[in-house]
Symmetry: C2
Subunit: 229 residues, 2 copies
């Protein structure tokens, strides 16, 4: 996401980026790039009048984002039919300057406002779950033991139409005072990323098969290591 | 954090873990371990009556958590003096089973409810900022160009007393149906973690000094690489 390249105008006043407004973008290309690079979001919703923030996995398909869990989930019950905020943040690096003041972080953040709707019907639910797997672990869905009706029934999926959103990113070098240029301390950027480590198979039977690649994570592909029990 | 080892009872009903309640803990040892392993939190607060979720850096010192930013920040203005939720999530791995249904994630999550208070006075603010640096980049604070009064004035710091909180974690192996044991597909855990990459110095002057280590991140220490401009 090139910094400072504004896309469309914000859909509403409440999603307009105010601080460092030049870091804001409002186009689907920028949004989708951030959403599709992640798996974890934080859902904000009201519960008994106070704001709650719950982490959960999400996925995007076309113009909607989805998240899911048990029918018994308090978060899903509170979010269903309600106004929610969905935030995805990638912390891309720490930005160190010669003064404390100009230290910063590189990040990509997507914030969506919307109304969470329940996905209904076993066929629709199954189709959405398949999309989740296809985006997370391509080709895995067809290899799995098929989903049962009882499992579908026990699963709640919420969807939110992508409509009101903003993207805010910082990237690149430190920005600091010219007067600090010769202060004798290291300054620069330390990049951070989510890395996949060595995969561990559940048991010897599982270890006969290959661990799936995680296309979403920029690290080396997972290595299949049979676990000794 | 050993799973299933409950600490103290929850401080309030609203922080009690309901789903997978055996994953919940309410003791400071578990909480502090999660807080001290991270740098990024998500703050939930109300803005014009709707819930907002904003990412920001945080730090803990003793019985308080802190976050900060510009005096012009909307988030800080809305959170100041208000009830907020602060959530820290470490996504530790993807848990893959032979059925879609039992897929899961390993994670450590801390949720705090509280009242955000502004840190006042230049000495107190400076002291809190120093604590932030000491927790993030040990020894760096003393090496930096000293903070000016104007910079302190432009910075707002909020604090929240650690009081109402819960911790929820999942770790370890997949849990799946015995009947799926021989289904022919890989199952297991792919660990995820935040990794620090190769540090890039701002310029030749900065590259003469060593990049700081990031004790918070489990990856190899940052390597100092002079950037060619």
């Amino acid at each position: 996401v090139p910094q400072g390249t504004k896309g469309n105008a914000p859909r509403s006043a409440r999603v307009r980026v105010k601080r460092f407004h030049e870091r804001g973008r409002y186009d689907r290309e920028a949004l989708d790039a951030i959403l599709d690079a992640g798996v974890l979001c934080h859902i904000g919703f009201l519960f008994d009048g106070y704001p709650v923030v719950t982490p959960t996995l999400y996925w995007r398909h076309g113009g909607h984002v989805f998240w899911h869990g048990s029918n018994a989930s308090r978060m899903l019950a509170a979010a269903e039919g309600a106004d929610v905020r969905l935030t995805v943040t990638h912390l891309d690096g720490m930005v160190l300057t010669r003064s404390a003041y100009h230290h910063s972080a590189n990040y990509r953040c997507a914030m969506l406002f919307g109304h969470a709707e329940r996905v209904d019907g076993p066929d629709e639910k199954q189709s959405r779950l398949r999309q989740m797997f296809e985006s997370l672990f391509p080709a895995r869905w067809q290899q799995l033991r098929p989903v049962s009706q009882a499992e579908l029934k026990a699963t709640k999926i919420l969807s939110m139409r992508i409509d009101e959103f903003s993207v805010k990113c910082r990237e690149g070098d430190p920005q600091e005072d010219d007067a600090d240029e010769h202060w004798p301390v290291w300054s620069g950027v330390v990049p951070l990323s989510v890395c996949a480590g060595r995969a561990t198979a559940s048991d010897a039977a599982a270890a006969k098969f290959s661990a799936p690649d995680f296309a979403r994570f920029s690290a080396a592909p997972a290595i299949n290591v049979a676990k000794t029990r």
